[in-house]
Amino acid sequence: MRLYDCAEIIRSKNAGPFAVTIDLFFGDEERYRLARDSVLLTPAGVASAYGVAEDRVKGVYWDDRIRAAKVSVVRWSSSTDPFCADLFGAHLHTPLAAAELV
């Protein structure tokens, strides 16, 4: 299953100008567990999905109370780049969302 199909909400947004944070919300405990136990949603898995070095992944965090995860990555192109394609960081979830949740 792709992360896109597993998560109920996938919201991507800048966390300051130089980092992007992707909040993931899951609709039920089964899907939350699937995501929580996955390799994709680890710093190594996220780095692989974005093709960046692992030290660019600031963290993958979980909140069991509300079945949510947060993935934060240093932006590879930010508002310091005149040709940045996504200044709000609202569309940077797609490589992660399209990846298989293994």
Partner: protein, 513 residues
């Protein structure tokens, strides 16, 4: 997390501080008057809204231009209620929040006051950083380091960085606002505080801290309230939000019939636009929500037959770890001028080779003798973005060819002058429009041009060249409040709001209570 019903002790305690929060760069929802009235029926001690942010990027800070958000119009129903009930308002204004942005908003505020016959006395706090102060801090003080180590910024801020920046602001903390809220003279207290760029949660923290509530509670509540109704379910920043704070925590309610706070909506809001879910570095300390608790509560409001249970969420358990006081600064530097050209492609043969076609146009610019010096000197940069192929993801895009039936090509040029940017964009446009490509049948023109003139001059382009932490011994010193009577008198034509604050109508600023 079980629901409990009990007396609204937190909301009615004499020690409680009740805040009505919203976002003043977003137009209020249609039911706003009713919602404000409901909140005031519960009690409100201060009305707070943020109106600054870096989300819009460095353009606004650098250019001095103001986003067309009409912030004065957005605050009007809230100011009306605050003045009627005699409670202060605290607003940050101007998006980028430097002096020209704040002044634009203050002129709107003048007009709003004049229109309504209001004459509030307001503490105005400007947020631009004095260059001499910053230069002295760099020369004499500890290193001024970036807030984000990975951002490609100077690892230690230099005097040259300061000189090259077009404009520099600081996200002022709660302290300058506390000073203004504490102002008391022969005419009593001020009706409100208006600031430039400010730490969002600091606006909310000011009154609770002034009243002696714990910093941890004030900061936790600020974090929950800073985006107004976005923290409710359903989330909508055009709505307002209400909370009652006490020494142990706070309870959140929705003043709107169509929304309510839920544990999920509030906890997920603490995530919002933050790299870390539970730790947040702020001036003077770190807010730690690692052990925060959230519980549904229903509080009985009203008397006798009119009493109703109002749903709320009780939030407790935040901690505050003291740290040296630093303020985040944002500085913008001009990078050049942008000109663009847009072309639409629907010819299948050309779509199949879209990238090689745009590469050829880029190469034609790179090989043109007339542009050689500008390219060599780094004064000219060009890219062509193909919407329909990889314009959004760039190198991360797995698709290597256009898969749809049409695509858009954006020629994007940044050069040191507008003239050069426009000339290069036109040069590239013409190559795309008439340049030969293998298998071409459409020899009168390769693509559709939707905009005339085909080259669109966009604007100056800016970068955040400063995103550094300024160590500060006195959080109020550089950011005094100026007591200002609104509407400010006009200097020339008699129209309210035509000129900046008139010094003869100010009282001396006080840097501390």
């Amino acid at each position: 997390m079980s629901a409990t019903t009990g007396p609204a002790s937190a909301a009615t305690s004499p020690d409680a501080v009740r805040i009505l929060g919203f976002v003043n760069h977003i137009a209020p929802s249609p039911d706003i008057e009713e919602a404000i009235e409901r909140a005031f029926s519960w009690g409100v001690d201060v009305v707070v809204a943020q109106g600054t942010g870096s989300d819009w990027g460095p353009y606004w800070l650098g250019s001095g231009e103001q986003v067309s958000a009409n912030q004065a119009a957005n605050v009007e129903p809230y100011v009306r209620a605050a003045l009627r009930h005699g409670v202060p308002f605290v607003f940050s204004f101007g998006i980028a929040g430097a002096d020209p942005h704040l002044e634009t908003c203050l002129q709107g505020f003048d007009a709003m006051c004049a229109r309504n016959g209001w004459e509030p006395r307001v503490g105005v706090v400007r947020s631009e950083v004095d260059r001499d102060l910053l230069t002295a801090a760099i020369t004499d003080g500890p290193p001024v380091v970036p807030c984000s180590a990975d951002a490609g910024l100077s690892p230690e801020l230099t005097v040259a960085d300061v000189e090259e920046a077009d404009r520099i602001v600081a996200l002022i903390g709660p302290e300058p606002i506390m000073a203004a809220l504490g102002h008391d003279d022969a005419q009593g207290r001020l009706d409100g505080v208006l600031t430039g760029r400010a730490l969002d949660i600091g606006l909310f923290m000011a009154l609770p801290m002034l009243r002696g509530l714990p910093t941890a509670v004030a900061a936790h509540a600020g974090k929950m309230l800073e985006c107004g109704g976005l923290a409710l379910e359903p989330g909508d920043s055009g709505r307002c939000i209400w909370a009652s704070l006490d020494a142990d925590g706070f309870t959140v309610r929705s003043p709107h019939e169509g929304a309510r706070p839920t544990i999920r909506s509030l906890v997920s809001h603490t995530f919002y636009e933050r790299a870390h879910p539970t730790l947040e570095e702020n001036p003077g300390g770190t807010l730690d929500l690692g052990e925060a608790t959230y519980a549904d509560v229903a509080e009985r409001v009203g008397d006798g037959a009119d009493a109703t249970d109002v749903p709320g969420v009780r939030c407790e358990g935040a901690r505050w770890h003291e740290a040296p006081y630093t303020l985040l600064m944002e500085g913008a530097r001009r990078e050049g001028f942008r000109a663009v050209s847009l072309l639409g492609v629907r010819e299948p043969e050309l779509l199949a080779q879209a990238r090689t076609w745009t590469d050829a146009a880029e190469q034609a610019v790179a090989a043109a003798p007339r542009f050689a010096a500008a390219i060599a000197e780094g004064r000219l940069r060009l890219t062509t973005r193909i919407f329909g192929l990889d314009a959004v993801l760039g190198a991360l895009e797995p698709h290597t060819s256009v898969t749809g039936h049409e695509a858009g090509v954006l020629v994007d040029v940044v050069a040191d002058t507008a003239e050069l940017a426009k000339e290069v964009a036109y040069y590239a446009f013409i190559r795309l429009f008439i340049g030969p490509y293998p298998g071409r049948k459409t020899t009168a023109g390769n693509a559709a041009a939707p905009i005339m003139p085909v080259v669109v001059p966009v604007s100056d382009v800016y970068t955040f060249s400063i995103y550094h932490l300024l160590p500060l011994a006195d959080p109020c010193g550089p950011f005094p409040y100026v007591v200002t009577h609104f509407p400010r008198p006009a200097e020339t034509d008699g129209a309210a709001g035509a000129v900046p604050t008139d010094a003869t109508h100010q009282e001396p600023a006080r840097a501390s209570v």
